[in-house]
Structures are given as structure tokens and as C-alpha cells.
């Protein structure tokens, strides 16, 4: 029996660059096949060929043994290929139900949208995907992880036979990952083939059968995951023996930098889906990396945003001190002036001006350092930019290219470079390695450990538990905006953190 999908010698060039040079890939019915590789290895290009996004490519594609050609997205969709892209394709101003049936709304006899059936079908669809969500909610009000679940439900509804998932779990907390895997396993029983792209190698063994590794646009090999260790996979991806992913820094925590004492934010206008900080007591010392664990919606992001003066406006209770002085920034500008830096969760939306150059982005937060009387000294700015590019190992043709053209890892380094130019003493990080390949991840970890050695205090929120355990000195677990546990990295395990994050014990209400 021919495989469900067979791609032979797929090649694609952009100008003079070989993005893909003759890659073979096959997918069986009912199989989950992982596609691995660092950013820029050619995964996205291969997927885009399969999705019909390029009018021309070299090589042959066959589905069920029958040759097909995909030159337009519609051809791929008609053949049963559905893709969930990293960039979510949802209309923020419309409801979940409307998005699920966008372009194929159920009609009534007058050819108008049958709203009742729309809602009913949407609810059924979400239920099949195992997603608990009100279909009448607006996409705008959903968090990244929730939007992803909607995307998955949408792909399911299109009767896909080949489902491409581009980093579906990057934005999901562990509980949601479980939910997603359940759905994927169900799909396999229905004979769907899944192409699964992920940077989280730990989870592959749970879900995927085979893995194909790409590097620099070429095929490295296809392996059975059951017989391959994580170390071997990383070795294939990186093309060299794995350096220790988590460097052991010898930073000795110094004096107290940030001190939160029963810290609470009472928002002027509470927004649904946000867990504002409640009664948080937390300390970050100089040279210390403190982790924030917790599920999606546990209030990690809200705490960091509040500490950066970028959260909900409202009244602060309890005490927050930075270097012993009261600290209550009402804008990011004030926070930066006080010596605090922030790497936000969503670098495309919050971290970067994508259309503008590397140099403009890197200097944006620290412009006054290069300015005299409002005039920017281009020479000094460029010198600083070049230094940052070299220090962080940012790969770019020159400092004038738009950051849009860089890979995810390099974009993230640009966000770091921008914040570091402001010379912060406290660095707030929200998912700093999301969507970043293994090599760049290791570099970011090394950077964090170096910064800590230099005496910077770091507060790191992450949904990747191995990352927290590997990088942090202490880890605080949040739930509903409250710190429910605090463990040293030595005593904490993935299980103990998860336990604290998911336990259903009621959070005791303080005098709120």
C-alpha cells in the first residue's frame, strides 16, 4: 500500500538561496511524523510547498500513490492538507464560532447566516476537539494558547487527511498539551496523518512515531523515535555534539534587588481572563535567577507586566521595593528609567517593530544614550548596535535589514539586545525561548547565566519546566495570581511544580 503522502526530492530556491535541496518525506495514514530542525533548516519551506503556497518548486508529491501538484493553497486543501500555522489566522473581532465557519457559514432558507446552527455546530466541533470554550467569545479576548486550540478545532472541521501542526504546543501549558495530544491520538485512529513540528523534544516520544530531521535545507535522516534518544536527535539537528544546554553559572546571589511584600494589584476595570497579582511575596536578589511557573492564565504574565508598568491600570496594595526604594512604575518608560528590562511573551506583537531595521529596534529603548539635545549620534548608535550584534551572536546580513527577515531565534536576541542596552539591573523575561531553536536556546541560557554572574537579577516566567529547573535558582509557582509554592531548584522537580500549579486546593482568600 502506498503511503498517504510521499514527497520526493523537494527543492526550492529563493533567489540564489537554496532553502530546500532535495528532501524526501513520507507520511503513513494514522502516523504522527515529527519534522525537526533548527530555525532556518527548511521545515517551514517544506510545509509551505505541501500547503501550495509556492507557485513553483522542484520534486514530486504523491498522495495515496497518485501524483499531485500543489501550486495554489486551494489545491492542497482540496487534497485534504490542512495546516495550522504559527501565525494564527483568526479574525480577532469575530467570535470563536464565526471563525470556525469563516467562509462556509451555515445558511438558512433566505441565504442568511443561520446563527443558531452556527453556534450549535461550533459547540459540537469544540467538544470533539476536547476544548472547553464558549463559542460566542471573541477571539480578541482569548490568550495565545486558547486561540491555538480554536485553530486546531478549525482544521479538524475541514476533514483534513493530512494535518500539519507547526509548533502547536509552543504556547500551551502542560495541561493543554495533554488535551491536544488526546485529540491527536483520536485523529490517528481515524486514519489522519499528522506532520508535527515542535521545538519541545521532550514531548515527541509521547506523541510521534517517526522523526525526520532537516539541517540547512537538506535531509539529515528519518528515525524511529522509540529507538532514538533526545541527545541523538539534538546531535542530528545541530550537526555537532550537544553542548551542555544549561550552563552551570557560579553567580552568588547578592543583596536584595526586588522585594514584593503582600503585593496586590486592584485593577480599575477588571478584564476577563486576566489573573492580576494577589498578595504576592517574592524576592529577587542580585545575581539570582528566579523562575515563575504556572499554567496558562495563572498570572505570570500579569505579574511581569505590572512590575514593568505595563499591566492593567489600578491601585497597588502591599509593598514593592527596588533596591530598597519604593517601586511603582506607571509606564514602561518609568520602569526602564528605574533599571528594569522586560522581554515580552509575544515578540512580534510586543517586542519588535518588525518592518524596521535591526539597528532601529536595538536602539529604540536606549535612544537617549546616543542622543544629545534630541539629536541621535548615528555613529555611536551604530557602534553600540554592532557590539550588541557581536555579543549576542545575532545572525544578520547587516544592521539595516528589517527584523522581519530574521529567524525566530535571532529576533528574540534582538529583543534581548534592545533591553540590555538600557543597562537594566532587573530583567523580567516572559517565555524568552518560545519558538526558538535548540541552538539559540542554549545561547540564551548562557547569556542569562552570564548576566546573573554580572549581578543582574532575573525573573523568568516559562511554561517549559525543564527550562525553569535548569536555569533558575528558585522557582515560584503561580495559580490565579497567587504564589502557591516556592521551591529551590535543588528541591523542585517537574512533578512537584506541576502538582503545585494544577492542584485544585482553594486558594485562601486574604482580606480582599
Amino acid at each position: 500500500m502506498p503511503p498517504l503522502l510521499d514527497m520526493q526530492g523537494i527543492a526550492k530556491r529563493f533567489g540564489g538561496v537554496h532553502a530546500l535541496k532535495g528532501v524526501d518525506f513520507s507520511l503513513r495514514s494514522g502516523e504522527v511524523h515529527a519534522l525537526l530542525g533548527e530555525n532556518g533548516a527548511g521545515k517551514s519551506t517544506l510545509i509551505n510547498v505541501l500547503s501550495g503556497l509556492f507557485p513553483d518548486y522542484d520534486g514530486a508529491i504523491a498522495i495515496d500513490g497518485r501524483p499531485v501538484e500543489f501550486h495554489r493553497p486551494a489545491q492542497a486543501q482540496a487534497a485534504g492538507v490542512a495546516t495550522i500555522h504559527q501565525e494564527l489566522d483568526l479574525v480577532p473581532e469575530m467570535t470563536v464560532a464565526e471563525n470556525l465557519f469563516l467562509g462556509r457559514e451555515p445558511r438558512d432558507r433566505l441565504r442568511l447566516v443561520d446563527r443558531r446552527r452556527l453556534r450549535r455546530d461550533a459547540a459540537a466541533l469544540l467538544e470533539r476537539a476536547g476544548v472547553v470554550m464558549d463559542p460566542a467569545r471573541h477571539i480578541r479576548s482569548l490568550r495565545v494558547g486558547e486561540r491555538q486550540l480554536v485553530e486546531i478545532a478549525k482544521a479538524l472541521s475541514q476533514h483534513a487527511r493530512i494535518l500539519v501542526m507547526d509548533e502547536p504546543t509552543a504556547a500551551l501549558a502542560d495541561v493543554e498539551v495533554e488535551q491536544l495530544f488526546r485529540v491527536v491520538r483520536d485523529l490517528r485512529h481515524e486514519g489522519v496523518g499528522v506532520i508535527y513540528i515542535s521545538h519541545r523534544l521532550e514531548e515527541l516520544a509521547q506523541i510521534a512515531d517517526r522523526a525526520t530531521v532537516l539541517r540547512d535545507g537538506g535531509l539529515v535522516g528519518t528515525v524511529q523515535l522509540a529507538e532514538t534518544s533526545r541527545r541523538e536527535l539534538i546531535g542530528m539537528m545541530v550537526g555537532q555534539p550537544l553542548r551542555d544546554l544549561f550552563p552551570k553559572g557560579d553567580a552568588t546571589p547578592g543583596e536584595e534587588l526586588l522585594a514584593l511584600e503582600d503585593f496586590t494589584l486592584v485593577p480599575r476595570r477588571p478584564r476577563p481572563g486576566r489573573s492580576e497579582p494577589r498578595g504576592i511575596t517574592l524576592r529577587v536578589r542580585k545575581g539570582e535567577i528566579v523562575g515563575l511557573a504556572g499554567l496558562m492564565g495563572s498570572g505570570r504574565t500579569e505579574l511581569l507586566e505590572t512590575l514593568f508598568g505595563a499591566g492593567s491600570s489600578g491601585r497597588q496594595e502591599g509593598a514593592a521595593r527596588l533596591d530598597g526604594r519604593p517601586y511603582a512604575p506607571s509606564s514602561a518608560r518609568q520602569a526602564i528609567a528605574a533599571g528594569v528590562g522586560f522581554v515580552p511573551e509575544d515578540r512580534k506583537d510586543l517586542g519588535l517593530v518588525l518592518g524596521q531595521s535591526l539597528a532601529s529596534n536595538i536602539t529604540l529603548a536606549a535612544l537617549q544614550t546616543f542622543a544629545h539635545g534630541g539629536l541621535v549620534s548615528t555613529g555611536r548608535a551604530h557602534k553600540a548596535v554592532d557590539r550588541a550584534i557581536a555579543e549576542l551572536g545575532i545572525k544578520a546580513p547587516n544592521r539595516g535589514v528589517p527584523v522581519r527577515s530574521l529567524s525566530g531565534g535571532n529576533q528574540q536576541k534582538v529583543v534581548f539586545a534592545k533591553q540590555l542596552l538600557t543597562r537594566p539591573r532587573l530583567l523580567l523575561l516572559d517565555e524568552p525561548t518560545r519558538g526558538v531553536d535548540v541552538g539559540a536556546k542554549a545561547e540564551i541560557y548562557r547569556l542569562l547565566s552570564r548576566l546573573a554572574e554580572e549581578g543582574m537579577g532575573i525573573l523568568l516566567a516559562s511554561s517549559e519546566l525543564p527550562e525553569l529547573l535548569g536555569v533558575c535558582d528558585r522557582i515560584a509557582v503561580l495559580r490565579g495570581g497567587v504564589v502557591v509554592a516556592e521551591q529551590t531548584a535543588a528541591e523542585a522537580t517537574q512533578e512537584s511544580l506541576l502538582e503545585a500549579a494544577t492542584s485544585s486546593e482553594p486558594i485562601e482568600e486574604d482580606a480582599a
Binding site: 539541517r215 505595563a310 522586560f342 519588535l352 544592521r399 528589517p402 541552538g439
Partner: protein, 351 residues
């Protein structure tokens, strides 16, 4: 520099951006796209020479007097368009500028003729009113989180109403001379030409405004803030950019320049009417768009806008020299706007 997977090799210094002439067809195409408004200006200029009527063997279009006249004729729209460029770069729009021209033109005429103001206090007061008007629009837009389109749409009505109340709804002719009920002679400088009749004063003001704006948008932290806000306002705010202050300043600049254009208008016509400047906001937007500035914000330049304004001026001039009907001129202007916008789209999808 060995191409390797990320993080493998030691960091290499980036090569500085090369400043050289483009090579190959593709690079030339990109080069032309990047300076589309300048190339457009050049093309229209050459076309104007080709189609110029001649008298006594001299091309009418190329006479220094005609060229100076073109710059003078676009100076008002050009000055407004420079302010509009700032607003559009932050992703906003300013519809109030045409009405502000009317307010400033009638205002300065009333102050000079009926209130016995000197030229300097009258001009200063009117410029201040324009600046404040813009700043208030910016404040309303940022504080109440209302789109600038709507705020300045209201501002347009407000300014027009204010102008009519101030001037009793009638045009105020300027009569020069000494004594009450007459405007000081020095105000008529706006009708004069310097350098032996070569350089009309409004054209000089226009060129100066353009030069200052180009400098500001190239060199200042303010300009970096403007481009960042237009490119991604949320990221700009998180980078410590004082978003509210910059926006208010941008609308204040637009109001200031609209008032300046209104004063020039009154000076050139020797009268100020509250109905002056109707539709100028749209001509200014046209100049900005032809100049290659994106209405989405974050991309564009004053140099492009100047080229766009001059392009429209040359177009009007050559059509008039050939006695083409004014209504046909409108049709051609429409085609130019669409062509410029199409080029811009082509360029952004190319990237």
C-alpha cells in the same frame, strides 16, 4: 565567516551596509521602487519638457519664472503635506488642516485689519492657535482613545465654525498702509520675490520647512519614536517611548504648519476668508501618498512628500500651459494617485 547552524560559530562582525550603485535588473528595480517618488518626479519633469509649448524658441515650462511659479503654487499644499507626513507616519490622519487654513487666513486678516495688530504679534498668535488646536486634537485622540480620523473630522467642523464666527462669515480683504483699518506693508512680503524676482517668498518658506522636516525626521530621537509608533505602537510603548507625548507633538506640528500655510494663503491672495482651504487636506494626503508614505504608518519620508507635492504642481502646470481643461486635470491627478499607491503595494509585497 562560515555559514553554520545557529550558535555554533563564534560571533562574527556584521558587514556594514554597502553604499553602491545597484547591479542587475532586480536591484535596479528595487532602487527605483525605493525612490519611486523621485523617479516619478523625474518622469513627470521630463514629460513636461517634452510636452511644453514653445514661444520664440524657448520652452515655456523651463523658464525660470515658470519653475519658480510651480514651487510657489505648491507651497501651501506642500507645507501642509509635510505636517500630514508626520501624522501619517504615526498611523494617524489629520482632516482638520484645510479648515485650519481657513481659520488662520481669516484670523490673520481680522487681526491685521480690524484689531490693529502688528505683523509679528498677529502671525505669532495665529501660529499659536494652530499649534494649540493640533495639540488639543492629539490630546483628545490619545486620552480618550479615539481614532484621529474622527477627532480631526470633528476638528474640521470646529475650526471652520470658529473661522466663520471670528470673521462674521465674510472674507476680509487686506489693504496695506499705515493707520487703523489697514494692514502693515511688511505683511505684503508674502507676495514678493527675492533674488531679483526669481524666488517667491512662499516658495522659500516651503523649502525651509521641508529642509527642517527632513533633518528632524533623519536625526532626532523624536523621529525614531515616530517611526516606532507607526510600526508597532505596543512595542514602542514597551520600549519606553512616550507614545502619548509624541502623538500630541505630531498633531501640534501639523496644526502649526496648517496655520502657517493659512497665513501664506492670506498674504498671497491679499485677503483671508473663513472658507479658504476647503479640500486642502485631501490634496495634502494625495501628495503624501504619491510620496510613498504608507497610510498604515511607520514607513515614508518627507523627501518623498516634497517630491509628491512638486509632482502634482508640475502636472497641473504643464496641463495648464497646454490649455487642458481643469476637469481633465482632475482625472489625470486621480490616475497618478492610483499609480503611486499601486507601486507602493507592489513594493511592500516584494519585501
Amino acid at each position: 565567516m562560515i555559514p553554520q547552524t545557529e550558535g555554533a560559530d563564534p560571533p562574527t562582525a556584521p558587514t556594514p551596509p554597502a553604499r553602491r550603485l545597484p547591479q542587475g535588473r532586480r536591484e535596479w528595480l528595487e532602487f527605483v521602487f525605493r525612490f519611486q517618488s523621485l523617479f516619478g518626479l523625474l518622469a513627470v519633469f521630463i514629460a513636461a519638457i517634452v510636452f511644453s509649448p514653445a514661444r520664440n524658441g524657448e520652452l515655456l515650462f523651463l523658464t525660470t519664472e515658470n519653475l519658480a511659479n510651480i514651487v510657489r503654487s505648491v507651497s501651501e499644499i506642500g507645507i501642509i503635506a509635510v505636517g500630514m507626513t508626520f501624522v501619517i507616519l504615526i498611523g494617524g490622519i489629520d482632516l482638520s488642516v484645510g479648515a485650519l487654513v481657513g481659520l488662520a487666513a481669516s484670523g490673520v486678516a481680522v487681526l491685521l485689519m480690524e484689531r490693529d495688530y502688528g505683523v509679528v504679534p498677529a502671525v505669532a498668535l495665529v501660529l499659536l492657535i494652530g499649534t494649540a488646536f493640533g495639540a488639543v486634537q492629539g490630546l483628545i485622540s490619545t486620552r480618550l482613545a479615539i481614532q484621529s480620523f474622527i477627532v480631526t473630522l470633528a476638528g474640521l467642523q470646529f475650526a471652520r465654525g470658529l473661522a466663520r464666527i471670528w470673521s462674521d462669515g465674510e472674507g476680509v480683504p487686506l489693504a496695506y498702509g499705515d493707520g487703523p483699518g489697514r494692514a502693515p506693508d511688511s505683511f505684503s512680503v508674502l507676495n514678493e520675490r527675492l533674488l531679483g524676482g526669481l524666488l517667491p517668498v512662499p516658495a522659500l518658506i516651503f523649502v525651509c520647512v521641508g529642509a527642517v522636516a527632513i533633518f528632524v525626521l533623519r536625526r532626532t530621537t523624536f523621529s525614531r519614536h515616530i517611526y516606532a509608533i507607526g510600526g508597532n505602537e505596543r512595542a514602542a510603548r514597551l520600549s519606553g517611548v512616550p507614545v502619548g507625548r509624541v502623538k500630541v507633538a505630531v498633531f501640534a506640528i501639523s496644526g502649526f504648519l496648517a496655520a502657517l500655510a493659512g497665513i501664506i494663503h492670506a498674504g498671497q491672495l491679499n485677503q483671508g476668508s473663513p472658507n479658504d482651504g476647503a479640500g486642502y487636506e485631501l490634496d495634502a494626503i494625495a501628495a503624501v501618498v504619491i510620496g510613498g508614505t504608507s497610510l498604515m504608518g511607520g514607513r515614508g519620508s518627507v523627501a518623498g512628500t516634497l517630491a509628491g507635492a512638486l509632482l502634482l504642481g508640475i502636472l497641473n502646470n504643464i496641463l495648464a500651459l497646454n490649455n487642458v481643461d481643469a476637469n481633465v486635470q482632475l482625472l489625470i491627478k486621480a490616475l497618478v494617485i492610483v499609480a503611486a499607491a499601486a507601486l507602493l503595494t507592489l513594493r511592500s509585497t516584494d519585501e
